[in-house]
Structure formats: C-alpha cells, structure tokens
C-alpha cells in the first residue's frame, strides 16, 4: 500500500478508501484504483465532472496551502481569521452547504421528535472546548458519509480524510435552538395558511389552561376543521401554546383568544373543560364575535356557550361514583393496599412469585408461556425498554399459533 498525498483537494469528491485501494466517485459512483499517483483521479474529474472540479479548485486552491490551525468561534462572532479559514471556505462551497442543511434538519428532527434537550447536540465537554463527539452526531455520521467528525488538532488531519469538517455550529446548543425556532416559525406559518385556506369560518377550537413544571402557566389552542371538499375527516392544527402568566380570569383569557382570532379568523364553536373561567371566556369570546344566536328547542342549551368536554363530565362522574358513602370505604382500602405494594419491594416480589406459581399450575399453554416470559417482562418493564417488550409480544404471538 502506498501513501497517498493527503492534501490533495480532489479527495473530497471521492468516497473513503476501500481495502482493495479503490475509491468511488461521489458524483457518478465509478470506482477508481489508486496506483502511486492521483493522475487517474484527476483525469476522471477533468473528463467527467469538469464544472465541479473547476469550482472546487477555484475555491480551495488559494486556501489549501495556508492556515493549518482553525479557530472555534460562536457563529455570530466572525473574525478576520474566518476569511482565511479553510473550514469556513469548505462550508462555503455549494455542495457542502446542502449537506450541512440536511444535517441541521436532522438536528431539529432529533430535538423535536425525541424531545431531547438542545444541549444534546454538544459533546460531553461542552461546546467551548472542542467539537467533541456527541452521541447524536456520532450516530448520524455513518448515514451521511460525506462528513468526517473530527476531534480537531489541525487542518492536516481533516484533509487526510479528504473530506470537509462538520461546521462548529452543529455542536452548539444556541444554534440548535435557533434552528428549532426557525423551523417552528415556518411550520406555524404553514399551519395558519392551511387553516385560512380550508377552514375559514368552519373551524372549531379547543382550549385549556395548564400549569407545567416551575409554575409555567400555559394556554393551549387547537383548531379542528373539515376541508371544503371533504377530502379528509376532521383535521387538527395546533394554533398556539402561549405563556399565560396573568390571573386566569375569563376576561383575560378572552382577550388572548381575540388576539389569536385577529390573526386567523373566528372559530365556529369552542370545546373546553367545565372550568367556570374558561366557560366565561368562551361565552365572552363567542358572544360578541360569534355567529348570531338562535334558540331552537327550549329544552336544549342555547348556542354561544362553549361545548363542555364530554370526557371531563364522564370522568368527574366516575370519580364521584367512587366517593359515595356505600363504596368509599372499600375503595379507600383498595387504594391503601395498592400504595403499600408500590412502596414495598418485598411485597411486590411476593405478588409476582404468586402469579408465576399460579400460571405454572394452569395447563393452558398460552398462560404457561406467559409465566416463563413473565420474569423477562418484569425485567424489561423495570427498565422500561419498549422495543424489548414488543419483541416479546411478537414472539408470543408467533408461538401461540
């Protein structure tokens, strides 16, 4: 195996070196063999991908020989060094920009789909030290093979792999936050546009107030509508989830609802829980600006009221059903017993053993198998490992047939 010139900029248009010392062209997937010289690679580029090769040379040639050290800077603090920085230069080339954009979308998807903290994109040492590995970037790197994650001791090692470095901003939590904000703003715009196109005047809203951790009081607002051509069933759009620190009176909430209605138009009706303040807000809101009121059968509740969430009503009824004197004592005892079992590990183990014995005693093959995997299920349950659980269920299904 001969040593290849590491600094040759053409390498970034080829894939990694394979064991039989061939490398694949990233543009046309042709495999070329390295025989002591880069001549055949150069020839391939000049013949087949002239434009790309010229662009690369124009951008990289003056910089490649220079600065061997790169600076780690926050993205909003450019310095004179940036203009000579080979990494920034690499970023500037069009192809790289596209790939970085893909990676940034991955970041947003990772943070929002899996609900990870922004800091998860940073390495274990924090961004100010070095672009250290983060679990996230390490795991997507094999999926985006054009990039090279690198622990950074100079430009040389970058070019040895012949591929550009991940920009520092991908390892920065503030940048990740900025990305999520941008994505959220655009999605919000899209949602509102969709709503205005398809729902105007036909939508209903639901709203509720929620106190999250750290006394964060937030108000949620969703809209539901059916498109004019009935091409789908009811659609849901998240209108807003806004901070609501004022006192939760009906008037305050109504004012907030008006603000939203000014942006997207009025809803037809609203669905809320049975809280007096929310009901009042809905009555004020729908009463002044809603469609004109008609009362039909006098036995029915007139319009302009919010529709009370039926599940809240049913659930409240069930809860009070357990509180009536006839059964209250019984269910309190049940609850005390359950609480005891939740506290006492010993009692819980006993309960589990008793179940295994019971299952082992019954001749039903399905149950017997359940008892055997029961131990496994318990282990997995305690570590809340869902994939493993689903595996067990699948195997159970297979064996029962």
């Amino acid at each position: 195996m001969s040593k290849r010139p590491p600094d040759w900029i053409g390498w970034r248009l080829f894939g990694p070196r394979l064991p039989d010392s061939t490398q694949q062209c990233l543009t046309c997937a042709k495999a070329l063999t390295y025989n002591n010289t880069t001549a055949n690679f150069k020839k391939h580029l000049e013949k087949k991908h002239k434009a790309l090769w010229d662009e690369l040379q124009r951008e990289e040639a003056p910089l490649a020989k220079k600065a061997r050290v790169f600076h780690i800077l926050a993205p909003d603090q450019p310095s004179l060094g940036d203009f000579f920085d080979p990494i920034k230069a690499a970023e500037r080339s069009e192809a790289n920009k596209r790939l970085v954009a893909l990676l940034e979308k991955d970041t947003v998807r990772f943070i929002c789909a899996d609900l990870r903290p922004y800091s998860a994109v940073e390495g274990p040492f924090g961004s100010h030290v070095l672009p250290a590995f983060s679990g996230f970037h390490e795991s997507i790197a094999p999926l985006r093979p054009h990039f090279h994650i690198f622990l950074g001791d100079g430009y040389k090692s970058v070019m040895q792999r012949g591929r550009p470095l991940l920009p520092q901003r991908l390892f920065d939590r503030h940048h990740a936050k900025l990305l999520v904000e941008t994505a959220a703003r655009q999605i919000d715009d899209m949602n509102k546009k969709l709503y205005m196109q398809l729902a105007a005047g036909y939508a209903s809203w639901t709203t509720d107030i929620w106190t999250g951790l750290g006394q964060k009081e937030m108000c949620g607002l969703t809209a539901h509508f059916i498109p004019p051509d009935w091409s789908t069933g009811p659609q849901r759009v998240t209108l807003d989830l806004f901070y609501f620190p004022e006192s939760h009176t009906g008037e305050n909430l109504c004012a907030k609802l008006r603000e939203r209605a000014n942006l997207v138009g009025l809803p037809y009706r609203m669905t809320t829980d049975s809280g007096a303040n929310v009901l009042l807000a809905a009555r004020l809101f729908l009463g002044r600006e809603g469609p004109p009121s008609l009362t039909f059968s006098p036995s029915l509740i007139p319009r302009r009221e919010a529709i009370k969430c039926i599940d809240h009503l049913l659930d409240k009824m069930l809860k009070t059903a357990f509180k009536i004197p006839a059964v209250e004592a019984l269910f309190e005892r049940q609850q005390t017993t359950i609480k005891f079992f939740r506290k006492s590990n010993k009692a819980n183990t006993r309960l589990f053993q008793a179940q295994v014995e019971l299952h082992a005693a019954t001749p039903n093959p399905f149950d017997a198998f359940h008892a055997i995997v029961g131990i496994g299920v318990r282990c997995f349950l305690s570590s809340t490992s869902l994939p493993a659980l689903s595996l067990i269920f699948c195997s159970r299904l297979l064996t029962s047939r």
Binding site: T182, P234, L314, I324
Partner: protein
C-alpha cells in the same frame, strides 16, 4: 402484572386501577395468597396495620364495578379520538350508557332478595343520576351532529324529541346557509352554485346538458367549445353522476335516509353526497368538525410536560411552544428551509 394506582390526570384511570386489582385477586387471596403471607410474615411490620381483610362480598362488589364501569371507559376512549368526527358519538355513547345502567339497575332490583349487594345498587343509582344530568346539559350541537351523521341520524334520539329536532335542524341549516351566502364564503358558493337550482327543479331528461353548459359558462371555464357531440370522458361521467344524484335527491329527502353501517366513515359518505344535500353538507362541515372533548389540548400539554421535565424546568415558554409545534408537525419539516436566512454571507 403489577398493581396499578390511578393517576390524577388520566381520564377513567380509577377504572383501570380497580380492574387490575380484581384481575390479581387469585394471587392476592386464595389458598396461599400474598395478603395472607404478608400478615403471617413477621418481616414486614407495616403490613399488620393495613386493612387487608377483603371479604368475599367486597370482591363481589369490585368485580361488579369492573363490569359496570368498563363500558364507560370504552366510551371515554372512543370520544377522545382525533381525526374522526366525535361530536355525533356523544349522543350514541351517553344514551347507550344510560340504557345500560338502567338495565343493570332493573336486574338488581329484580334480584334484590337474592343477595345482590346493596352497595352496587347505590352506585348504579348514582351513575343514573349523573348520566341524567349530563343528558340534560348536552348542547344542541350534539343532537344536530348526530342527525347529520349518516351512521346515526335519529337512531339514538328518544322518540318524543325526534319531530321537533328535525324541524329545528331544518331551521338551523337554513340559517347556516344564509349566513354563508351573505357573509361571502366564496369557496362554498362556487361549489354549490351548480346544485342549488337543480334541487329546486324536478329532474327532466335533457336538462342535464343544458345545466352543465350553464355551469361551465358561469364558472368562466368556457374555453372548450360546448358542442354536444364532443365531450370529454370526464365531463360525461360528471354529468352522469350529477343526474343520478339529482334523481336521488328528488326521490329521497335527507330526512328519509336510512342509516349506513356504523363502521363506515361519515366523512366518506359526505364526500360522495355533499352535492346531493349541499345545505346539509354545509352545516355538517361545521358540526362534524367540532371535537367532543378537549383531549387535543390535553395532548399538547402532555407533550409539553415531557419537554418541561425536571432538568429542563427553566426552559422558556417560547421554546416549549416551538418544540411542541415542530413535534406535532414533523411531516411538514421536509418543507422547511433552514439555512436560507440564517447565514447570509
């Protein structure tokens, strides 16, 4: 299987708790039940003070409560759904539950002498009263939504109310119709303008072509010369469908429809028939979109709660909103352009 403790926030969680407890009865009591073991065992002192002595009548009550309340839980789960009309289901579930409780109560009263537990009867009475209150407070939209859902129509509405409700519904849809046509719902008007005169006039053979031509000119789509001989396949099909649906409408007014199968989708039916009953479709588009529960909102909060976990308690509300928005619309993320205005160099 572990014992389950009812959370405060999940709907009908107490039913789950009770069901799990009853399910574990063989392990808890019985020949060598865990409860007995715990009382006999000297290791766990605390167990001695606990009220473990469930009598057989206690277990019987718990078992019956499971039977009585699981339909309630099923109803709650179906009503909290997304992406299908839920308001028409309210009537179905509430009245079915009411009948169910009534039947159980009747059965209990008949067997009162035969050792049926008083406590269950009290519980049933309570549920009956509760359902009565809920039925009294049902909004008129729930009734109208049921009438406008071809799966139910008036099948769950008590007989004496049906006549007035159908009359009310007619008033309601006319009101909605005039509201839209004066307030200028452009989309709706364009869609239904072709069908309104057709409903008024009885279907005459040959009127279909004239009508189609009129519509075409009215909509400003007269680029294709409207010669009778040369019609595109699409137009011919459309006319056939139009003629047939008009015939249908003339034969069968909305009120005399027969319910369709309960497992079919109401929105599919309306998609096919929206031009047959334009006024009804117009009102149905509003009513069937109303969610019966505030579950969608609660779902937002549950996502928010997962974001605002202990270690991220100081996250700003705006960030929570952003993450929830993207989380709920991951399918739109492909259309987002991230780098265009972030790095202008």
């Amino acid at each position: 299987v572990k014992l389950l403790l009812a959370g405060k926030t999940r709907w009908a969680a107490i039913v789950d708790q009770n069901e799990r407890f009853v399910r574990l009865k063989p392990a808890l009591v019985g020949d060598n039940g865990v409860l007995q073991q715990l009382i006999n065992d000297d290791d766990i002192d605390e167990a001695k003070k606990l009220p473990f002595d469930f009598s057989s009548s206690d277990w019987a009550v718990m078992q019956q409560v499971v039977d009585i309340l699981s339909p309630f839980r099923a109803a709650i789960r179906e009503l909290e759904g997304d992406y299908y009309p839920t308001l028409p289901l309210v009537l179905k579930h509430v009245y079915t539950l009411n009948d169910f409780v009534g039947n159980r109560l009747g059965a209990v009263n008949r067997q009162r002498g035969a050792g049926i537990n008083e406590r269950v009867a009290t519980l049933l009475h309570h549920l009956r009263a509760g359902l009565g209150d809920i039925i009294d407070s049902l909004p008129q939209e729930a009734y109208f939504a049921s009438l406008l859902d071809p799966r139910f129509l008036d099948s769950f509405i008590p007989q004496p109310m049906r006549e007035t409700l159908w009359a009310d519904l007619d008033a309601f849809i006319n009101e909605m119709w005039s509201l839209d046509n004066t307030a200028g719902a452009a989309v709706e008007r364009e869609e239904s303008s072709g069908d309104e005169p057709a409903l008024a006039a009885p279907p005459i053979a040959g009127a279909a072509t004239e009508h189609a031509a009129a519509v075409r000119t009215a909509r400003g789509r007269a680029e294709a010369p409207p010669t009778a001989g040369k019609k595109s396949y699409k137009e011919m099909i459309a006319e056939k469908i139009n003629a047939r649906s008009r015939l249908q409408a003339a034969v069968r007014p909305y009120r005399e429809l027969v319910t369709i199968d309960a497992h079919l989708s109401a929105s599919d039916w309306w998609r096919a028939n929206r031009n047959v009953y334009p006024k009804h479709a117009n009102a149905a588009r509003r009513l069937l979109a109303i969610p019966a529960t505030s579950a969608p909102c609660e779902r937002l909060f549950s996502t928010g709660g997962r974001i605002l976990e202990k270690r991220r308690a100081s996250l700003s509300p705006e960030s929570v909103r952003d993450i929830v928005l993207v989380h709920d619309n991951l399918n739109l993320l492909d259309r987002v352009v991230l780098d265009d205005f972030l790095y202008d160099d």
